[in-house]
Symmetry: none
Subunit: 131 residues, 2 copies
DNA sequence: TATACAATGATACAAAGATACAATTATACA
DNA sequence: TGTATAATTGTATCTTTGTATCATTGTATA
């Protein structure tokens, strides 16, 4: 069971304390990829904190690519610690994605131009906060 | 056998992912009118999802007139996917693909522009997989 | 003091899961 | 063949879990 220790008198915001301590437990091996973290409400209760505070900490870790929070399911440590992959690898990964996308679009009977437009028409912020 | 691919990290709800992918397989001909879909429990097991999530997806498709779910019998692709909605389905399927592609590219740290270019640079002839 | 801002809390909501139920089909057996 | 019973399949409803939005609190600073 995840045991954190908050210092309510510290100047460090509770949210940040939660983030830092989870990161530390991950680095020290107490938490491992695939592990499920306590629910925001459960952890909030043990920490005697509002569950939104835990939720905020979880979101920060989520946006950092460290955990995955899934509404209705729970939050989990991701398999891959933040990938500092080379630009080369990232490029290859993107190309693989692009190839698959085009193939599927073609199977649906769309041309490359139509496939391009389908993407161009999407607003950029649609990928915000992926969990 | 119907094979879907869920992304638990996406901010697209699992239910919507299931709906979109079934529409896609229908539009691409993998699924044909009269075909029986897996039972809600069977599909849920393979997708590692609660069967209510599949049931919700089936209901959406049912209400859209695409499939017919029958308690105690199963769910089937309707004989008559309203012909004019065919292009509509293809369109929605493409949009779902585009959204997913952008999300994954974004996760790799690429902008929408870079994602677009990655496709634009590919040659058109990647259309294997027709029928 | 007053105002602005950041951190936290409160409340309502949405997505997914758990459980019990109803309709249909399959099976056993007289 | 007919009927009872079990198994299968979708449905209804409530619970669990994270999200969004606004209110409150404390603190810095003009």
């Amino acid at each position: 069971m995840l045991t954190l220790n908050l210092d309510f008198r510290s100047d460090v915001p509770l949210t940040n304390q939660i983030v830092a301590q989870i990161q530390r437990q991950l680095a020290s091996g107490v938490l491992k990829p695939g592990d499920q973290l306590p629910t925001v409400r459960a952890l909030a209760t043990t920490l005697r904190v509002n569950f939104n505070t835990v939720a905020r900490a979880y979101r920060i870790l989520d946006e950092a690519g460290i955990i995955s929070t899934q509404q209705g399911r729970g939050t989990f440590i991701l398999e891959q610690p933040p990938p500092e992959t080379s630009t080369q690898l990232r490029r290859e990964a993107l190309n693989a994605l692009a190839r698959r996308y085009l193939e599927e679009a073609h199977r649906l009977g769309f041309s490359k131009q139509e496939a391009l437009q389908a993407i161009a028409q999407r607003n950029e912020t649609a990928t915000e906060g992926h969990t």
